[in-house]
């Protein structure tokens, strides 16, 4: 199968409320930057375009149709869309390159969560007959998961606070787009009131508006463009049952399966970017991926520093790719998730050329 390279990645700032800027205005700058980084001008300069977004964030059907306006798709382009995080749009684009119908692709994701109440909106992801009508929100479900872990003695509240401390610190040092950053102490965090017990507000990813974009291609194209790149060595994703009671919520089997399938353990993992919207989930994922003490987890601060719903998964992959391209490391792992309590997980292994 053809090796595929990530040649550029661009992300907007994560902001709590993008105000009157619409989706097109969020997308256009990141697309321009991602294309511009490899000397391209518009979507006609790549062979395929794929995006990820969710209508319910905007509160109207076909939100992605307006996204096409941001592409300048005249003359027409080869284009597709997943109603998933854009990490899965990347997956679709990779298949298109592997099958030989494209040598290059633009992938983007966007989300404007500010107009709605994201946790309540996500409750409508649940089984529409038994769970949806109860409006159990995403934070409450994650709180239940954290409670299980605390009660079983798998983690402590101190562990959770330490995840947050590291996220804020890394975001301050390494991530100009972060929404939440700074030096905080575990003591000060643990002194905060609980929000949805046992979660405190800082255990939960913030709600952010923004967009990300990435350009990928086969190696020949990367050489033709004369740009540095990171190689996608493996990518795999797995789903788990929707019945929360039938899952062991204290671990992530689907992440374990995806990690095994794409060869995470085949080499040293220097950095890992994990899509953990809740502090305790970073601990679950670190374990599921088999990461050791030597791995730097979420050098960007992860999504606790800013969560572009529908783009955060792609952004994790972009963050690792950027660091490899910059020569900061040789091998890294990126993770994306979807669904309540880490139901669906995608793992990518990236390596230096």
């Amino acid at each position: 199968m053809r090796d595929i390279a990530i040649v550029s990645y661009a992300q907007s700032d994560c902001v709590r409320d993008a105000g009157a800027r619409n989706e097109v205005e969020l997308i256009m700058p990141v697309i321009k930057n991602a294309l511009g980084a490899v000397g391209l001008n518009n979507a006609q300069d790549v062979d395929f375009t794929c995006s990820g977004s969710c209508d319910y964030q905007q509160g109207a059907a076909f939100a992605f149709v307006l996204g096409v306006d941001a592409l300048g798709a005249v003359p027409p382009i080869k284009e597709s869309h997943v109603e998933m995080d854009a990490a899965w749009a990347l997956y679709e684009a990779i298949l298109k390159i592997r099958m030989g119908h494209a040598d290059s692709a633009l992938v983007y994701g966007f989300g404007k969560s500010s107009p709605g109440e994201l946790p309540a909106v996500l409750s409508q992801q649940l089984d529409p007959y038994y769970l949806g009508p109860l409006w159990v929100d995403s934070v409450s479900l994650a709180a239940m998961q954290a409670r299980l872990m605390l009660d079983q003695g798998l983690i402590s509240e101190q562990d959770m606070a330490e995840v947050v401390v590291r996220s804020r610190r890394n975001a301050m040092a390494n991530n100009p787009h972060a929404q939440l950053k700074g030096e905080v102490s575990t003591e000060s965090l643990l002194a905060q009131d609980r929000w949805v017990s046992p979660l405190r507000k800082h255990d939960c990813a913030p709600v952010s508006d923004g967009a990300t974009a990435m350009v990928i291609c086969d190696l020949e194209k990367a050489h033709a463009w004369g740009v540095p790149y990171a190689i996608i060595r493996g990518i795999d994703h797995r789903m788990e049952t929707h019945n929360l009671g039938a899952r062991d919520l204290t671990r992530s089997r689907s992440t374990e399966q995806a990690a095994a399938a794409c060869g995470v353990a085949n080499g040293e993992v220097e950095i890992a970017e994990l899509y953990a919207p809740f502090s305790h989930q970073e601990i679950i994922l670190t374990k599921a991926l088999g990461l050791s003490e030597t791995t730097t987890v979420n050098p960007s601060g992860g999504v606790l520093a800013g969560n572009l719903m529908m783009a955060s998964g792609l952004s994790r992959i972009g963050e690792v790719a950027q660091r490899i391209i910059a020569g900061e490391c040789k091998r890294g792992v990126a993770h994306a998730t979807s669904g309540p309590c880490l139901q669906h997980n995608l793992v990518t292994v990236l390596e230096a050329a």
Binding site: A61, V68, K78, H101, P128, T241
Partner: protein
């Protein structure tokens, strides 16, 4: 070069206004189980599931793959959800095919559905978009002015749409799965039905259906073990263009012309009317048949209606290029599945498995879907021959 792959299993539900006897999960499972049975396979033979449907607002379930994994036997497997507006059924089939064409998987299941009775598509299609002018019209209101422009340009007689509406319902009467069963429909009845969005009458519009369609797609090696004849996928193409831009050709969209040129080139089709035996084309409003006959190169620009009126697209009139022998979207419209039904019905024809609506000796067929403001296109060519 993409790997050669084939459709080896097809399953559909009966299409009808309300399927109150099943949940959404029950609906998709019914189609999936039938596709597995058709291919003589079980859930363990499936490596990944690719699911598609129109906007989540139609049923009010966000990212329904999260909920549907259990019903589709996908736990522990990859699951992908495609959404490309009305073309989604076609796009989903293409994305599913790419899983195998890329060599990444050997055999996948793809399922599309809509359970329109659990919501209100007109509402979901018409709610206001922030920062955009509000078109409180639904799909018919959107397409009516484009159809009027086609009529003005082509000088087509007023009853072309009436003929298509009648023809597709007569086709649908041959297909026991079709939603509308109108074996005695007449052009007079269509003409006398209420005008909804001038020039589109009630009977010139598609129904709202509940239903699901599923296919099993596998590589060449596994297809050889298939109990029934495989439908080889000989060409695949997608194109998109924006809803609006200065000078946009809305009657005969460039994206459609580019898409079909691409898929014909892959399949070695230079004269579609001669080389294809039949086509399943997304015609949700009657007049889109003559419009797409031109867009897809079956007739010169302005002449598509002549084929329709001459009976060339009618199975009952012995036409040389029957369109929508299954009854088409005009007979069954489970929106998210409608594109895939076209793709699957094209495959049924070349498998020689279309029962009462079979085109005698069909070997090569086109499956077509479009969506949005006639701006998203997905197409494939299937054949009984590997090529």
């Amino acid at each position: 070069m993409a790997n050669l792959v084939a459709v080896v299993g097809i399953g559909q539900t009966k299409y009808q206004t309300r399927r109150t006897d099943v949940s959404i999960a029950g609906l998709v499972r019914e189609a999936a189980v039938r596709a597995l049975q058709d291919a003589d396979l079980s859930w363990d033979d499936i490596e990944a599931v690719i699911i598609g449907k129109a906007p989540d607002m139609f049923e009010g379930v966000i990212m329904p793959e999260i909920y549907l994994t259990d019903a589709l036997g996908c736990n522990g497997k990859p699951m992908l959800r495609v959404h490309t507006a009305g073309s989604v059924g076609g796009s989903t089939a293409l994305v599913a095919a790419s899983h195998v064409q890329s060599g990444t998987f050997n055999r996948v299941l793809t399922v599309t559905f809509e359970k329109q009775s659990e919501s209100n598509a007109m509402w979901a299609l018409s709610n206001p978009q922030p920062f955009s002018p509000h078109l409180n019209a639904g799909a018919g209101g959107y397409f009516a002015p484009i159809i009027r422009e086609y009529m003005r340009r082509s000088g087509a007689p007023y009853d072309v749409g009436i003929k298509v509406a009648t023809k597709d319902r007569l086709h649908g009467a041959r297909n026991p799965l079709a939603h509308l069963q109108l074996p005695n429909i007449t052009m007079k009845e269509v003409e006398e039905s209420p005008m909804l969005w001038d020039p589109i009458r009630f009977l010139e519009s598609c129904p709202s259906s509940d239903g699901a369609c599923a296919m099993v797609i596998c590589n060449e090696t596994l297809a050889a073990q298939s109990p029934k004849r495989p439908a080889w996928i000989r060409g695949v193409a997608m194109r998109s263009e924006p809803t609006m831009y200065a000078g946009r050709e809305e009657v005969n969209p460039q994206a459609g012309r580019d898409c079909v040129a691409d898929v014909y080139q892959q399949a070695g089709i230079t004269n579609p009317r001669q080389q294809l035996d039949c086509a399943e084309v997304y015609v949700p409003f009657s007049w889109y048949e003559p419009m797409w006959l031109e867009n897809l190169g079956f007739a010169e620009e302005g002449k598509g209606w002549e084929l329709t009126m001459a009976g060339a697209t009618s199975l009952d009139e012995g036409g040389d290029i029957p369109w929508n022998c299954s009854g088409g979207v005009l007979s069954s419209n489970a929106i998210g599945a409608s594109g895939m039904i076209r793709f699957a019905e094209a495959a049924r024809q070349v498998r020689g498995d279309a029962d009462q609506h079979q085109v005698e000796g069909a070997t090569t067929a086109l499956g077509h879907a479009y969506g949005g403001g006639a701006q998203f296109f997905a197409m494939w060519i299937v054949s009984s021959e590997k090529g």
